[in-house]
Amino acid sequence: MEDTLIEKLTFKDFQSDQEVRWCPGCDDYVILRSMLKALPEMDVKKEDIVFISGIGCSSRFPYYVDCYGMHGIHGRAAAIASGVKLANNNLSVWMITGDGDSLAIGGNHFIHLLRRNIDMNIILFNNEIYGLTKGQFSPTSVIGQKTKSSPYGNTQPPFQPGELAIGAQARFFARIGGNTPKEMTQLFIDAQKFKGTSLIEVLQNCVIFNDGCFTSITDKDVKEEQQIFLEHGKPMIFGKERNKGLVLKGLKLEIVTIGENGVTENDLLVHDAKCEDPTLHQMLVRMSHPVAVGIIRAFEDVTLEERELELTREVSKKSKFTKVDELFFSGDTYEVK
């Protein structure tokens, strides 16, 4: 009989025997540690967890977690992971990818996965650069960014991953700085719990090729002023003194200060992550000051597997066939005597 109780495991149980080979100081270590902390808290059996990656620095991740895993080919993790999940609905599937892997070469699979809403989790390591190929601009690199393939500055306008994802009907989108492991761990647990495709964008510093690209947002000294950590059902407050907030003025978000011009906490927007209409989520995702982090959107919807399962049940009920022989010998057959 199948053991239905989930063994209580620890961080160490999920560590693989492979030596981790990222550059010293890379945020990827933070993401890995956060994941190893989150996995024992997920109420999922270790053997039912699968990590699928594409190609890039981030995509080495599956080798470092002692679960089932596949290091795929560039850009295709979304499609491989979709196949895994559609083949066995019982698995907890994690896709590990980067800004090059999912927003350039794998852009097509990325948007279609989000559209289909297959119940799995994506962690997008966004470092605004190609690391593994040693420093070319990526689809999230900013205009003017000097890289090995843009020595005079990047001329290609970047994607905002959240904007693209929500445009592709993402039901769950969260963003987090690469230097905040505690919040990240919780987000991984939340993503696992969410039914549907969950996408977490990690603002991940690449110490070698794009060092400091997020410093102005994620540094400890500026974080509270530059980020707004959104929580469902709570007013949109930020700032060192917790006295700044967001209001909607016409079609724009505006920063106000509590206590100035008669503004009180009651005037602020209250975050509704579960709302089906993505309009406000899109505005939050695009906002550059402050940068929205936390769960920006978490709208629960029917998944592709649920639709397929329901359809299979219906078709099976009506079908005359349970064995292929019944099909082969049915209909227009004739006898040669």
Binding site: K46, E47, D66, Y68, K85, L86, T312
Partner: protein, 464 residues
């Protein structure tokens, strides 16, 4: 059309039945098959059934009364083994072969596919069969078609992907991933006229070299080809069997001609089909490694996610020969390259030998592969009836080839390789088999061979 309320347009539409009625008279056959067809097809429109039936009969009686056609033929029902038959086209037969393989192996069938002519009908057929547990996934592109199938194979399904020429090109990186992680996967290429978009609705055999060699690195895969509409069933089944038993990608080649062509199929029960041995786990965790191999087949274990205690990682980077961990060791890479090649080569010990029909030795051996079987066989038969010493050898297994190939070839003075391309099998045979006088006959018009052209060619070669 007296008494019918049909408009002129609908009446005129049945005029082709006049010709069919004349053909029925010419061949002296019973019209009931077509009359029953009308009754069934136009069940809800009896007037259309009636108008077609009237025109069919009119054509028959017209030919009979006027005797305009000088010769009437009597074609006796063909001599076929006793049994239950049905008419089947190649694409449906391919789909059914996979259904049979899934049930026989106890695996669930997963198809990842993107619409492309002329392969799409396999997808159309398989999506109907959810009641057999078929998971047919229409992906966003060819690459997602194959890579979703690789994911499904990793998770333990019998995974296939279907495409045609340009789609096979897009799938090449995926084929190599399946080869490297050593997972079972069948890639069906219903060949059409190429290159590029080429002649999408016409037939050709010009993807052979792409199937054999069109990937980066040393990339041996099993390549087999169906040769008639009905045996698409057998070779789809065989492709699935080889993929699962050898844990490797298998390319199944069919073509537009046999995919859309139909013929009587003596219905097979899955009880008639050979067993498919799934590489089950038979070791404890302590003595198990992801790249342990079966001594006979060199296939590695297939351990699927959900199996407690066997968590492991695979991927496209070179693997250590035992642990499956990433390895840049030079000797290991050479060893693994050889192992992957030997595994595919070793399949020759598990496939039937090549046979020569009509003559086991003689002046000319006609060699073909895949969908040209029908025309080549008819042409060689005609030569045989005229007293020529001509044999016909047809390849269904192309990589690896049957072990006795050289031996079969060596019994003939000349070997003529006939293909609907510029000589792709020829190219392979010439590099593999020495001391044989190879000739070529190639036609590349998007059309199958005609028997009379073939017979003329054979005679020219014999006289040369």
């Amino acid at each position: 059309m007296k008494g019918l309320t049909l408009d002129t347009k609908s009446i005129v539409r049945s005029k082709n039945m006049f010709a069919l009625g004349m053909v029925y008279w010419m061949y002296n056959r019973d019209m009931n098959y077509t009359l029953d067809f009308f009754a069934k097809k136009f069940k809800y429109n009896p007037e259309i059934a009636e108008s077609n039936a009237r025109v069919l009969k009119a054509g028959f009686y017209y030919a009979e009364t006027l005797e305009l056609i000088p010769v009437a033929y009597k074609v006796a029902p063909s001599k076929m083994p006793k049994g239950t038959y049905r008419i089947l086209n190649g694409n449906t037969a391919t789909a059914w072969g996979f259904l049979a393989a899934a049930e026989k192996s106890g695996l669930e069938l997963f198809l990842g596919s993107y619409p492309i002519t002329p392969a799409t009908d396999i997808l159309h057929e398989l999506v109907k069969h959810k009641h057999f547990g078929v998971k047919a996934f229409q992906a966003e592109d060819e690459i997602a078609g194959i890579t979703s199938a690789i994911g499904a194979a990793f998770a333990g399904d019998l995974a296939i992907t279907t495409t045609s020429g340009p789609g096979l090109a897009l799938k090449s990186e995926g084929i190599n991933l399946a080869l490297m992680v050593e997972l079972p996967l069948v890639i069906v290429d219903v060949q059409r006229g190429g290159p590029s978009t080429g002649l999408p609705t016409k037939t050709e055999q010009s993807d052979l070299l792409q199937a054999l060699f069109g990937r980066n690195g040393e990339s041996p895969v099993i390549v087999i080809a169906a040769s008639t509409p009905a045996n698409c069933f057998d070779y789809a089944y065989e492709a699935a069997r080889l993929a699962v038993e050898f844990m490797t990608p298998v390319i199944l080649l069919t073509d537009g001609y046999i995919a859309n062509g139909s013929e009587p199929w003596k219905v097979k029960s899955i009880n008639d089909m050979p067993p498919i041995h799934v590489k089950k786990l038979d070791k404890s965790r302590e003595s198990w490694h992801p790249y342990d191999r079966d001594i006979q087949t060199l296939a590695r274990n297939w351990v699927i996610p959900g199996t407690k205690g066997f968590e492991h990682r695979i991927g496209g980077l070179e693997k250590d020969k035992i642990t499956g961990n990433v390895s840049y060791n030079p000797e290991n890479h050479e060893h693994m390259t050889h192992i992957r090649a030997e595994k595919v080569k070793g399949v020759e010990n598990f496939i039937p030998e090549l046979t020569a029909d009509y003559a086991a030795e003689g002046d000319l051996l006609v060699v073909g592969w895949g969908g040209t079987f029908g025309s080549l066989h008819s042409a060689v038969k005609q030569m045989h009836n005229e007293g020529f010493k001509v044999g016909h050898a047809h390849f269904n297994y192309i990589n690896p080839m049957p072990k006795n190939t050289q031996e079969v070839f060596s019994k003939f003075k000349k070997v003529l390789v006939c293909e609907i391309n510029l000589g792709q099998l020829s190219f392979v045979l010439k590099s593999k088999y020495q001391g044989i006088e190879f000739h070529q006959y190639n036609k590349i018009q998007g059309l199958p061979f005609s028997v009379s052209d073939l017979v003329n060619q054979f005679k020219n070669i014999l006289n040369a």
